[in-house]
């Protein structure tokens, strides 16, 4: 690629990426406040707090880029969290975790079957699936929180490696893997092609069904991974941890600049979108904004960013 296209690509990211300017505004704004925002502890804590949602978003991004979406992640999150603890009563920790993740993969497989193979509407079918799984989690736990008694398990989500929280490290590793997957592998590029134009991808000899299906499987597996990590972080599994998660994550992905229509976006964008949410929460708490105004501000930010994004696209369409 020549240099001009590279710099224009950078410019494109800056103009398309509405979460980034927003993050910059917050970062600059916080310079002028007397809070503990700019302490290593807080910055790491912010990343740590966003980690679960970030990991979830990576999987979801795959399905959205392929032209679908996954609203069942909330359900997968809680069931896998519960399983990873519950199964420890009958097997050692790592096999239990493995089974929990396999569960997510299986749900992803079913989602993929329904959405890709049976051509149902991803939005509604995964919404129903999420509801179903929440019920499963309640059934599994009798709606009680299920604390883990294994300190090793808790350390996965709460430990540090060289002063960096494990979760942050895992998130960064996931980020690198997913970003690499989407940018540098056949599979990732095929997903872009499928989301960009399903028929063209098909005519070009891409195995569209298998590829898109796999996106759902990965999303399910990622959600299960996040679920086990969340359970470890909270040292507890429960059916109520995932209620709003699916919408928040999908929304964060879109705020980051991944198009719900498919084919456009990427892992870095999603990361920025969810980081923007995480940072907003952190900043609002730092500034001691009271609860109801926090809710108001968050809603406004979501509307504003998506509004600006749509408006920019409209302007581009209508450019005369």
């Amino acid at each position: 690629m020549d240099r001009t296209t590279r710099s224009s690509a950078l410019f494109g990211i800056l103009t398309r990426q509405k979460a980034l300017p927003f993050i910059i505004i917050m970062l600059v704004g916080m310079l002028f406040t007397k809070t503990g925002f700019y302490t290593p502890y807080n910055l790491l804590d912010m990343l740590n707090s966003s980690s679960i949602l970030l990991i979830l978003s990576f999987g979801v991004t795959l399905t959205i880029i392929a032209g679908g979406c996954d609203l069942s992640i909330g359900g997968i999150l809680v069931v896998s969290g519960v399983l990873s603890i519950k199964l420890q009563s009958v097997m050692p920790m790592w096999p239990a975790i493995f089974c929990a993740i396999v569960f997510g993969v299986v749900v992803g497989f079913v989602n993929g079957f329904l959405v890709v193979h049976q051509r149902t509407e991803a939005f509604i079918i995964t919404l129903g699936m999420g509801l179903l799984l929440t019920g499963v989690a309640q059934q599994l736990t009798d709606a009680h929180p299920l604390p883990s008694s294994n300190p090793d398990f808790m350390m996965i989500g709460n430990g540090y490696l060289l002063g960096v929280p494990n979760l942050v490290i895992i998130t960064i590793v996931c980020f690198i893997i997913f970003a690499w997957l989407m940018r540098y592998t056949q599979f990732g590029r095929n997903l872009y092609a499928i989301g960009g134009d399903y028929e063209v991808a098909r005519y070009s000899g891409i195995n569209v069904i298998r590829t898109k299906w796999l996106a759902f499987v990965i999303s399910g597996g990622t959600a299960a991974l996040a679920g086990f990590l969340l359970s470890s972080k909270l040292n507890t599994g429960s059916a109520i941890y995932g209620d709003l998660t699916a919408l928040v994550v999908n929304c964060g992905v879109v705020v980051g600049g991944t198009s719900f229509a498919g084919g456009i976006g990427g892992i870095p964008q999603s990361a920025l979108g969810l980081l923007a949410f995480g940072m907003l929460d952190n900043v609002m708490n730092m500034l001691n904004i009271t609860s109801y105004y926090q809710i108001l501000l968050k809603g406004t930010v979501i509307v504003a960013i998506i509004w600006l994004d749509c408006f920019a696209q409209k302007r581009k369409r209508e450019l005369v």
Partner: protein, 326 residues
Amino acid sequence: MSPAEKTGALKSAAGFLRSYLLIVLIAVLVVLTAIVEPKFLSGQNMINIMRQFGPLIMVALGMTFVIIGGFIDLSVAGIINLVAVVTISLIQVLGQVPALIVGMALGAACGALNSVVILSSGALTQAEALFMTFGMSTVYSAFALLYSHGSTMHFWDIDKSKSVFEAIGAGKVGPVSVSFLIFLFFLALLWIFQANTTEGRSIRLTGGNKTAAELAGIRIRRSIVVIYTICGFMAGVGAIVLFSRITTAAPVIGANFETNAILSVVVGGTTLKGGKGSVLRTVTGVLLIILMSNCLNLLGVSSYLQVVAKGAILVFAIWLDNRKQA
């Protein structure tokens, strides 16, 4: 029977099952429950079902239009929160009839605001509307919390007469509950609107193919304003029916209504792709959802298993319906 005839018969049986799936499901549920728990058929229970129909059906009727028009509205939960706390507090200030009117107008205004936000940004896809209304829902909920300071308002806090609301909540005309009559009224109104007016047709055409509709001179922007306004208005009506029924209003009263409304519309057979569907179908969708909890409660199924069963039936119904259309 020859193998060909056999498969033919099987096919047509499957075809029948698909086209009338919802009715079949409802029938099975009803028969099963009636056998296990004969009290299901009691007059008391019929009245219960009528009442429980109340709030959700109002919201779902409004949502039907948004979905027929090819869009979606996640903000109804927020609208319900806001309308409920504002209306109940206004009874004290303005008296009940003005409060009722302001409440419904507020719902419609929130809906109209949604459409303005959507149209002004140029967002013309369902996905964009999805997340924008998600944000708007949060905004409305925040206003509800700010307005009420997070506290619950009760009927007994109100010195003025609230007979109208009491009637909406618990009144009966003969054996029929008032809220059911209100539902019938809006159903008739909206059904006529949907089936017999030019605007109803424009909405369907907009949902069927925005570009074609616009090129044929149909005012799609107006249709978009209309669908969101109806949806907001009906969410407002739903809020009023809801708080009248329980005689209190909390700023979180509308939680989960958006999901349930969308699910009932889609399960009823109105497709998310837009252009197709009807308020009558939504009635069957809501009926299924209401009956499901009613029957499962009567059958003594634990609340957790109920969620599983509900989710499974919904996924199944959506999948079958989708196959029918494919």
